[in-house]
């Protein structure tokens, strides 16, 4: 325990890295997942097939493989992620961070897509037909009629997907991003006598973060509940 308290700044920095990694990947996955869901329920057969292929390919691949691919295979074919190299507040946003964001977003998008699709399927077909009947194009039907209702129904599964993403960020610790899990490992190596205290502290901090995500989801669910 004392090692955690003595190095509080390092712990804060590590969890800040975890949270930035989570936030950026979450936004990208939700955007990507929404597009994928639209492709999968849309009227264009090619896009439907493409969306379905993406989901079955990515969702059936272990996250570790996806990360390995983007981290080690991609640079070999010239994708080096040299788009950003910033450091603020001890959080390094560099090529390795970008690679982790890309991999986590690619992976999580598939799950977001399916969570949203479950919501879309929960909207009665009549809603879409009525929207079409008043002359809305596909984009309009989705944006103004289906998605607002679908998102409500999707909040609980989406929350699960995002919680999984938050915990999945720890995998990036083995791929060059110095986030909470990597910091925990360096503490347990530094002072093996405090191993259990360090484990418990970090586990507890993750529980707190997940509780925060669940809390937000809970609030949204309540606010958007159909009267």
């Amino acid at each position: 325990m004392t090692i955690v308290l003595e190095n509080l700044d390092l712990v804060v920095r590590a969890f800040a890295t975890t949270l930035v990694l989570f936030a950026v990947s979450a936004v990208l996955s939700v955007v990507g997942g929404t597009l994928l869901a639209a492709m999968r329920v849309g009227p264009v057969a090619v896009l439907r097939a493409a969306g379905a292929t993406y989901v079955s390919l990515v969702r059936n691949t272990p996250l570790l493989l996806v990360l390995l691919f983007f981290r080690f295979a991609a640079p070999k074919i010239g994708i080096t992620y040299d788009v950003i190299d910033l450091t603020f507040g001890g959080v390094n946003l560099d090529n390795l961070f970008t690679a982790a964001v890309v991999a986590l977003s690619v992976y999580t998008s598939a799950f977001v897509c399916e969570a949203l699709r479950s919501g879309i399927n929960a909207v009665p077909l009549g809603q879409a037909e009525a929207a079409r009947a008043i002359g809305l194009p596909f984009g309009g039907v989705m944006r103004q009629v289906i998605l607002p209702q679908a998102v409500r129904a999707s909040v609980p599964p989406l929350a699960s997907v995002l919680i999984a993403l938050l915990k999945n960020t720890t995998v990036a610790g083995a791929f060059g991003v110095f986030e909470a899990f990597a910091r925990m490992r360096s503490f347990t190596n530094d002072d093996p006598t405090q191993r259990y205290g360090v484990f418990l502290t970090f586990a507890l901090l993750f529980v707190v973060l997940v509780l925060a995500v669940s809390f937000v989801a809970n609030r949204l669910e309540r606010r958007w509940r159909v009267a």
Binding site: R71, F72, P75, K76, T80, T87, N92, D94, N95, L96, A99, G173, A174, F175, G176, V177, F178, A182, R185, S186, T188, N189, D190, D191, P192, T193, R195
Partner: protein, 298 residues
């Protein structure tokens, strides 16, 4: 890529040959040493109730070594027995217990940085020789003695790099195994610590240009450089001191004297130097003086 891999296989095979040659088994002509010949009736040399007696009588031992550090402890998919300096020193100790180190009475268990203490505490391994640096914190929960090797942390960069040492790498990404002391030292030197699962991942990252350098014990880096000859080089003076020792369970403090005696004997009769030359040594590498052993604590 294919070419380097073949070379690595060849190098490993060569190393294995060199090792078996210095093993000095009966019938081979190396003759100069008997370092890995088991002591006969070793159990008689130990007092009743000691761990050494127990191991010698059982005739079996489990040793924790690393599998991913060429030159120290390395095992490729094709071989049964790991190779490297840690392994050679382990063989000397095992032989002193009367167990044939080349036989299947010795179980080589992979220990990574994180599980060395738990494995010792739960008696899953009897000894740990896994580039295990001696630290006061570790000594609180496991027994450590030695050192049998002194190394310092250096830097491995691409062969065409201008970097001459850790000082040139401030603010640059430097890779080391997750949760290792090396990673801490990198941070202390002002470089950006970049954790990886193991050192081959680090090497890959340097070759791909994802990170600027790898930094850990010089002996490990030499092994990695040898695997990627012409593409990587080791630079700079050592900027930390690691004292590599033997780990044993804290429940069996009598092991300390025994290990120290065995190590001291190998320092004196040259088998230590021989093990060094066979693994970490090379044309350009001078065999160092054996380090001074710590006294056993009470």
């Amino acid at each position: 890529m294919r070419f380097t891999r073949n070379r690595a296989v060849l190098a490993t095979a060569g190393l294995a040959l060199a090792l078996s040659a210095c093993g000095g088994n009966a019938g081979e002509e190396s003759g100069t040493s008997s370092d890995v010949d088991a002591v006969e009736n070793a159990a008689d040399n130990f007092e009743d109730g000691t761990k050494m007696k127990e191991l010698a009588e059982a005739g079996e031992i489990t040793v924790g070594v690393k599998f991913d550090q060429p030159g120290l402890g390395f095992k490729d998919a094709a071989s049964d027995v790991p190779t490297g300096f840690d392994v050679e020193v382990a063989k000397l100790i095992v032989a002193a217990l009367g167990i044939d180190p080349e036989s299947d009475k010795v179980t080589w268990e992979e220990t990574v940085s994180d599980n060395r203490e738990p494995y010792l505490q739960s008696d899953r391994v009897d000894l740990v020789l896994a580039s295990y640096s001696i630290t006061p914190e570790r000594r609180q929960i496991v027994g450590q003695t030695g050192p049998y090797l002194l190394t310092g942390q250096q830097v491995l960069v691409k062969a065409d790099s201008d970097v001459t040492g850790i000082a040139d790498l401030k603010g640059k990404k430097v890779c080391a195994a997750q949760g290792s002391t090396s990673l801490e030292n990198i941070e202390a030197e002002g470089a950006v610590p970049t954790p990886a699962d193991n050192y081959s991942q680090c090497t890959d990252d340097v070759l791909n240009g994802n990170v600027d350098a790898v930094s850990t014990d010089g002996s490990i880096l030499l092994g990695l450089a040898a695997q990627n000859e012409g593409e990587l080089k080791v630079v700079g003076e050592p900027f930390s001191e690691e004292r590599i020792g033997v780990g044993y369970s804290k429940d069996t403090p009598e092991m300390c004297e025994f290990i120290n005696e065995t190590l001291q004997k190998s320092f004196d009769d040259g088998s230590w130097a021989e093990a060094f030359e066979a693994t970490l040594g090379g044309e350009d590498v001078e065999t160092p003086e054996p380090p001074k052993l710590d006294d056993c604590q009470a």
